[in-house]
Amino acid sequence: MADRTPYDGPILEIENLSISFFTRLREIPAVMDFSCTVMPGEAMGLVGESGCGKSTVALGVMQDLGVNGRVVGGTIKFKGRDLNKMSQEELRDLRGSEIAMIYQEPMASLNPAMKIGKQLMEVPMIHEGKSEKEAYQLALEVVQDVRLPDPERMLKSYPHQLSGGQQQRIVIAMALMSKPSLLILDEPTTALDVTVEAGIVDLVKGLGEKYGTSMLFISHNLGLVLETCDRLCVMYSGEAVETGRIADVFDNMQHPYTQALFRSIPLPGADKNARPLIAIPGNFPLPHERPPGCNFGPRCNYFEEGRCNADAIPMAELDHGDRHATRCLRYAEIDWDAPPEVAASTEKATIGDVVLKIDNLKKYYEVAANALFGGGDKKVVKANETLTFEARESETLAIVGESGCGKSTLAKVLMGLETATDGEILLGNKPIQNTPIEERDTGTVSNVQMVFQNPFDTLNPSMTVGRQIIRALEIFKIGKNEAERRERMLELLDLVKLPRAFADRMPRQLSGGQKQRVGIARAFAGDAKIVVADEPVSALDVSVQAAVTDLLMEIQRREKTTLLFISHDLSIVRYLSDRVMVMYLGHVVELGDTEQVFSPPYHPYTEALLSAVPIADTSIEKQHIVLEGDIPSAMNPPSGCPFQTRCRWKSDVPGGLCDKEVPPMRTLADGHEIKCHLSEDILSRMEPVIKIAAE
């Protein structure tokens, strides 16, 4: 049993930590010379792109590096005791009781064959030897603390009976069961929807205050870190490059990488035409191919030959701010306030004629209650309910919504992978709602193409990149012979700014961003008129996102393509779209110009969505709206308005109208429509969710 003697010093002190993984060929240094201190009750954020070593630090603290990983230098002190020197038994006592960890995938952290209650009760029974009764009481308390409804029923259920958000709350509850001094959260909300994420973030913040737990919060999302943490540490390629209080680092950054990172994320005010994002040039170095001197050197605007690439660069403590440090030799010389060199701003493309018109589209699925014999009651899943909208040439229409809102079904119907139940889709003047893809002619197929979400899945791993593009050309009947198609394929590679040599590479030799570019090239192979981009950048690192987004915009401008941009990330939507359509449970709840949708009056759901998205800007003030509960199942939607179960304005509608009927689509302003019962004067009283504080 862990002794719980009070301890005043820092909870966690990491000094010059280096961690390496040993493979057959070489030693791969994952973390180098990493130092940080977490005081009691403090929340420390670790931020960086994938592969920068942030998770390795967490695993190092847990002393769980696997067979190949080893701490090769430095110390990790937890409450003054060196974790590196502890025996396995001592570590076992600490883990799960004094240090608890929460992982990204909640389902992977829960035992699917054990009831929630049993799993929670195990913690105090093992670590503190409590009786079953005491443990049950404690479990009940903690489940209430993580704001789960009906705790007693929760304890009796199995993990698969809960939704993703509820599962993650249970995992947090499990971590809190032993009242740990240090909580490590490794991307705890990445697998969740934004509104659910907002709930979890709110919870974590509250718990830190209530239990006085110190936290190590690992994330790639700067906005999330801003909302949850007191201090942060920016990591790049295995090293901490800048560390300090949130306010110091966000508003007074002293490292070129931090600066570049902030310039590549779409903050309010960025605009695809006037103020485009600035992508970080080059690629993340592989761990065994790091440059000498500064790791960020080759991608840095302030790089100085002979100085930045001479020796390893130490962390330099700054004289202002609280424990603010940077790993840059030139921080004193750089003018941090200089405005960025604006990448050539472009003309706003003129929006042309309507190319796609969708009228009253419905898509229902019939699901047999008993799958084995096909008998029994049939249930109808209303995946898309009376969708009406149109898209014009050269226009970017963003489709926003959380998982289960029907945006993927819409894409499927549009592509012809499913046929519509009712309604009409007009492509040009041709109705295509009932033509499955096999019956569409080549022109129609090549006109509507798709860019997929997961870069690691979008290319066939056993075919060369060139071959896959050529195949698309063959199918679209472009080019008379192999040589012509090869030439066209090379041109397409130029279009997405990939070297022509990539034609003969296998997909596994490409990075995520490069694969996504090939995916874009493939979609544009047949001069597509309409491209459905299903979260094309959400799986990419921040610095790559900007480059891929800009590429899409550039191609769109040149080819006059209509882009249907499916996303849940409102920051990027605000940055690049001309019009926005918000979907919830198969319904379009709001449709309008980007300006109209992002400013009041809102649909209540849009309002909550806007509030949920974390924004990495300290000057932003947000209204705090957290939605209760989860998205209802499409199998069993609520009566009346689909959003009524979570709506905070429901009481403002007289006569329980929300429970009874689905609101009609109302036009508020020219081209701005919402599906809500709220009266005009209430709508007009709505305040903007995001306010930029006066400087």
Partner: protein, 483 residues
């Protein structure tokens, strides 16, 4: 002439050494066992302050090292026997092991060349090259290739023919000299009940096993893939029906099925031949669909490839199933002038049964992988550009299912080999005098208590081949997971 000793002249000093290696190995094993029970762990790698690493050895490490060296010594002694067989002049000096080693000379040369070439170029050879990074994989590959080369060079290795009988050599023990004027001076592994050379029959038997097993497995894979892909990809009623049929076949006792297939009435009725007509159609369908789906956008290339596949495929197909010369045959329409070959009836039965029994399992594996792979975005990408279902199945899904399939292929050749042995053992299928390992074991079984030597060599050969295939599959699986 005298009876040969097992180890010959080198035995006088190699025998004590090999015995010592066994004793040391056992001693090391028990020490390690006791130490582990007592709680001593092998030493761990530690990083020292100056950037170097050190292993702090414990007694358990030393015990493990001792075992390793004992195995090495054992292997060296075995190589010593073979070298003895190659360099010493007379049969008496070579001993049985030496002489056997010498008979296998072509096999050794081929093995050394294969390994030398493969290891030199292993970085360029993809998964096959990676195999040479794993000791297990190399041992497995070595064992398999040993029997493959034995089958290829069987006529060079085997001193006698499979059916040569020397009446005075009946049931003679290993190393017995043959009478003057015979093809070879000794029966190295003795003679069987009819006075035939056990060693020669073992070597010649490998030809049968290695011809039928891989080919039958390949056919089973063709059937399994051609049915499994649509079952997994299209799903629905088709899947339900196919899976049900596969379950039916799997639920039927295999041996009973074999007995049924060789029952004279059933053979008379032509059931095996009709079955072969259906089963052998699958490879042709597979190839035609494969080429058509890939090249349907370029009709010229498509027509040439599909044409070649269809003509060659159907020629082989009709040659295979039709037998005009045999009056009992159920299918006799293919003119003899273009009939390339005829398969003996019982060989066909063995082949059909093995394919029939193996394909449902392959079907299930392929169906399972397809269900997983079809959810990938590249499959959706193919769908959204209007590819046909067969292109998606054969060119998008199948290549990405190859990993588990290659491993299963190796394992399945092993099962098929055992199945062939079982068939031979029950006297089903191949003719009783055939030298295949199953029949030979069955033959030797009758006098097993008195003369164990005729049954043991084929049994050990079967064991080593299957062991080799399993190790090879393990090695492939292990290496394909690494990067």
């Amino acid at each position: 002439m005298d009876l040969l000793t097992w180890t010959g002249q080198f035995g006088s000093f190699l025998n004590p050494l090999i015995l010592a290696s066994v004793v040391i190995f056992l001693a090391g094993f028990f020490t390690n066992f006791v130490l582990t029970v007592a709680g001593v762990r092998p030493g761990e790698l530690e990083i020292q302050g100056d950037g170097t690493m050190a292993i702090n050895s414990t007694p358990a490490d030393y015990a493990l090292a001792t075992m390793k060296y004992a195995v090495l010594l054992f292997v060296l002694c075995c190589i010593g026997y073979i070298i003895g067989g190659l360099v010493l002049p007379t049969m008496e000096q070579k001993g049985i092991f030496g002489a056997v080693g010498q008979r296998f000379l072509p096999v050794w040369i081929a093995l050394i060349v294969t390994f030398a070439l493969s290891i030199t170029f292993k970085r360029r050879l993809g998964l096959y090259g990676k195999l040479f990074d794993s000791l297990i994989g190399m041992i497995g590959f070595g064992l398999v290739m040993f029997w493959v080369f034995s089958a290829i060079f069987a006529s060079l290795v085997a001193p006698f023919d499979a059916l040569d009988q020397i009446s005075s050599m009946r049931n003679e023990v290993p190393g017995t000299p043959t009478p003057e004027g015979e093809a070879f001076s000794h029966y190295l592994f003795g003679g069987d009940r009819l006075g035939r050379d056990v060693f020669s029959r073992m070597v010649l038997g490998s030809t049968y096993v290695l011809q039928i097993a891989p080919l039958a497995t390949l056919f089973a894979f063709m059937v399994g893939i051609t049915l499994g892909l649509p079952a997994g990809y299209i799903g629905g009623k088709l899947d339900t029906v196919l899976t049900f049929v596969a379950n039916l076949v799997l639920a039927f006792p295999v041996i009973l099925l074999f007995y049924l297939l060789v029952t004279p009435e059933i053979v008379q009725a032509g059931v095996p031949q009709y079955m072969s007509m259906v089963l052998f159609l699958f490879p042709i369908i597979f190839l035609v669909v494969l080429f058509n789906s890939r090249y349907h956008t370029q009709p010229t290339i498509r027509n040439v490839l599909v044409g070649i596949a269809a003509v060659v495929g159907f020629w082989l197909y009709f040659s295979l199933i039709s037998d005009r010369a045999n009056l009992d045959s159920a299918v006799r329409f293919w003119p003899e002038s273009v009939d390339l070959f005829n398969i003996p009836g019982n060989l066909l039965i063995v082949f059909v049964s093995v394919v029939f029994v193996n394909s449902p399992t392959v079907f299930r594996i392929v169906r399972g992988i397809t269900l997983d792979v079809k959810t990938r975005d590249y499959v959706a990408a193919a769908q959204t550009r209007g590819e046909g279902p067969w292109y998606i199945m054969l060119w998008e899904i199948l290549p990405n299912a190859r990993g588990p399939l290659i491993v299963d292929f190796c394992l399945r050749i092993g099962y098929t080999t055992i199945l062939l042995g079982t068939l031979g053992f029950f006297g089903l299928g191949l003719s009783p005098e055939s030298p295949d390992w199953g029949s030979t074991i069955n033959e030797g079984r009758r006098l097993l208590t008195v003369y164990p030597h005729p049954a043991l060599p084929p049994a050990l050969a079967l064991m080593s081949l299957v062991l080799g295939l399993n190790l090879l599959a393990d090695g492939l699986r292990e290496e394909s997971l690494k990067d």
